[in-house]
């Protein structure tokens, strides 16, 4: 495991100038409460400023690169019809209900409505605000909590659109709902700030598939926030495919809150972006709730994929599982920063966290950092991290059977990734992910190098308090 030097570098963001570009647009037709919400986000960001590498949660993210580009918030009004073919190519289409956003703004021409159970809302936030903004006031009461950092506050400051999904009590939606976020800049460095809200009512069930992509070669910054709220007994299955242009920046926050007996599963695959941060914050607020996070990141070239995960066990008898795998090629950098906090009173917590990384090149770098903070008794937490290279003995075994070296490397690399695909419950999404991963691993031109065996270290902490 290699670690970035501790002398943290202050991000070279000219904070005031950069922030001023994010002043909330006042000419939109928004209800008063929403304007207040945006202003509060802006004020928070102005007060706290951008995070820097001195902040523990940001020490690995190459923020400097983002600060160097004069990004401007994307306005609505692009002609989506010209893009629909590109979008279908880059994003795919599962054939069911689908909301497409271009630069963070709803693109109805590319979207598809489908028959959904009574009382279900699947729409864009902007259209919902335009139709009956005052009736959505509950959104401001219900969802926001203290901002995690200036980027999520800035998302709020310029938030205008995103997906709004509300599944009523007891409703089960079988067909996956697709959310596609596509970026196309036309040469202007745009930042898109979609803000999506998914509310799963008591004992409801829904599957959401999020895809993030953009025009190849475009310089843009996607700064999206997704809030997921699970009521008692709700079940949400969530998928993310991050396939942004490799020139882009992608800072995403998924903020999940779970009530009693709810179950949240998330599977993600990250391929794109120059710098990507896939942040997940889950609060297990209700007794017996369960969360299962699985992610595969495949940075190559000089890409950076950062995965800051925070799971808070706040109630008794909750279960959390994390399994993240990285395949890092070229001079790329993969980061897993997994933090579990077991709050006082969260007895009977069962938490596990596993991160495994495969380095395909001498220049590839991985930082893996499991963190456990336990403030309750009768807790079972395990965590393990491994960083290794392709197993030389396995490679020799395959070659001794006649399989050419490059092919043998491909077979072993894909085998490492395959576990993540096979664990993906939805067959249609699994097929899409399988295709994307196979495509990436067979075209990843970098010559893999290896000289040591996969090493692994599994530690286990059981019972009792630990500090």
């Amino acid at each position: 495991m290699t670690t970035v030097t501790d002398g943290a570098v202050r991000a070279t963001v000219d904070a005031d100038r950069a922030l001023s570009r994010f002043s909330p647009r006042l000419d939109g037709d928004f209800p008063g409460w929403f304007t207040d919400f945006r202003q509060a986000g802006f004020d928070w960001a102005m007060e706290h400023g951008f995070p820097t590498r001195k902040d523990e949660d940001w020490k690995y993210t190459r923020l400097e690169a983002i600060g160097e580009v004069p990004f401007v918030p994307a306005a609505p009004g692009i002609d989506h019809r010209l893009l629909s073919t590109t979008i279908d190519e880059r994003v795919g289409d599962l054939g069911g209900p689908r909301l497409v956003f271009v630069n963070g703004h709803f693109a109805p021409e590319c979207s598809r409505r489908a028959a959904l159970p009574n009382g279900t809302t699947v729409t864009s936030l902007a259209s919902a605000l335009a139709v009956g903004g005052e009736q959505l006031r509950w959104l401001s009461r219900r969802t926001p909590r203290p901002y995690r950092h200036a980027f999520s506050a800035l998302n709020a400051a310029v938030a205008e659109d995103g997906a709004l999904i509300r599944v009523p009590a007891g409703t089960i939606i079988d067909e996956p709902i697709e959310l596609a976020f596509f970026s196309h800049t036309g040469g202007i460095p745009l930042v898109s700030s979609p803000r999506s809200v998914i509310l799963a009512g008591p004992d409801s069930a829904v599957t959401i598939v999020e895809t993030h992509a953009g025009t190849h070669g475009d310089l843009y910054w996607s700064n999206g926030v997704v809030e997921v709220v699970l009521d008692e007994g709700a079940c949400v299955e969530h998928y993310t495919v991050q396939d942004e242009a490799e020139t882009a920046f992608h800072l995403a926050l998924m903020d999940v809150r779970q009530a009693q007996g709810s179950r949240f599963r998330s599977h993600s695959v990250a391929l794109g972006s120059s710098i990507a941060r896939h942040e997940v914050h889950v609060s297990l607020e209700g007794e017996g709730s369960e969360v299962d996070l699985e992610g595969l990141y495949l940075p190559r070239g000089d890409q950076q994929h950062d995965n800051p995960i925070l799971i808070e066990h706040m109630a008794p008898g909750c279960t959390s599982r994390q399994l993240y795998k990285g395949i890092v090629d070229g001079g790329a950098h993969g980061v897993f920063n997994g933090h579990i906090i077991v709050r006082p009173g969260a007895f009977g917590t069962d938490a596990s966290q596993t991160n495994k990384n495969l380095l395909l090149s001498d220049h590839a770098e991985v930082d893996t950092r499991p963190r456990l903070e336990i403030f309750a008794d009768d807790v079972q937490c395990t965590h393990g991290a491994a960083v290794g290279r392709l197993d030389e003995d396995a490679l020799f075994y395959l070659r001794s059977r006649g399989i050419p070296e490059q092919e043998a490397r491909g077979v072993l690399t894909y085998a490492f990734a395959r576990e993540m695909v096979t664990r993906c419950p939805s067959a249609v999404v699994r097929a899409r992910m399988e295709h994307l991963i196979a495509d990436r691993l067979t075209t990843g031109a970098n010559e893999p190098v290896m000289d040591s065996r996969l090493t692994s270290e599994i530690r286990s902490v059981k019972g009792g308090r630990s500090k």
């Binding site: 396995a394 020799f396 395959l398 070659r399 001794s400 059977r401 006649g402 077979v411 085998a415 576990e419």
Partner: protein
């Protein structure tokens, strides 16, 4: 078919093979016996193309310089090693692995690649030979296989790849008598006038089933004694210490015993 001359192999400062000479003709089965650490497995690994060793000396295989060939090229040319410790490869299906291997080898040999259906038919046929259950095909390569199952899987691979030179590295170790019989039957079924085998074993037991043309004893990185199958019987009776005198003798005279 195979001529080994003055073969040395080392890892770092650790000299493992110290001048091995051996000749193996088509149709012959030779056994190599010897105590732990005598270099038997290293010899097998080096012949299959392991890059873990620094190697000097000469090995001609069908008149070609074996060391000029990559492991995959050796496989295509008909060299096969049944591993002492077959690798477990999670995430790679056994059937997929076997088919990829066979088609790689067939391609190099100028044969057309087999379709999934044709391969399955071939595989079923060969599995009977080693009395292997079809459920093994759906599993990852050797993952969760018992010792005996792994060894059968090696023999299955050998039967499918149809090598000219098969090297069996302690294929009998850890097998109960039934598994030993199955493995030995598999090996015997592959004996043919144009195929040579090098059988590395600790025990004479396997040689009751797979009767060798010659037996060599390895000690301290070279072959110290060679003879017919009676040598294996003598070893069983007197142990390696019994040939210890010969080890000393061969050292004094500095003459390796050639077959």
């Amino acid at each position: 078919m195979l001529r080994i001359e003055n073969l040395h192999a080392s890892i770092g400062d650790n000299q493992i093979l110290r001048g091995v000479d051996l000749e193996l003709k088509a149709g012959e089965v030779h056994a190599i016996m010897g105590p732990n650490g005598s270099g038997k497995s290293t010899l097998a690994q080096v012949l299959a193309g392991s890059e873990a060793y620094d190697v000097t000396g000469q090995v001609r295989y069908e008149g070609r310089d074996l060391f000029a060939l990559s492991p995959e090229a050796r496989a295509a040319a008909g060299v096969f090693l049944a591993f002492q410790h077959p690798m477990e490869i999670p995430g790679v299906g056994n059937l997929y692995f076997l088919r990829t291997a066979l088609n790689s080898v067939r391609k190099e040999r100028g044969l057309h690649e087999l379709s999934a259906m044709d391969f399955l038919a071939l595989c079923r046929e060969k599995m009977k030979l080693v009395e292997m259950d079809q459920s093994f095909m759906g599993r990852s390569v050797n993952e969760g296989f018992s010792g005996g199952e792994k060894k059968r899987n090696e023999i299955l691979q050998m039967a499918i790849l149809e090598p000219k030179l098969a090297i069996l590295d302690e294929t009998d170790s850890g097998l109960d008598i039934d598994a030993l019989r199955v493995v030995a039957n598999g090996v015997n079924a592959l004996r043919s006038p144009d195929r040579a085998m090098l059988v590395i074993t600790h025990h004479q037991r396997l040689l009751d089933y797979v009767v060798p043309d010659r037996v060599h004893v390895m000690a301290e990185g070279r072959i110290v004694s060679s003879g017919d199958k009676e040598l294996a019987v003598a070893l069983e009776e007197h142990g390696y210490a019994g040939v210890g005198a010969e080890v000393q003798a061969s050292r004094r005279s500095a003459v390796g015993v050639a077959p």
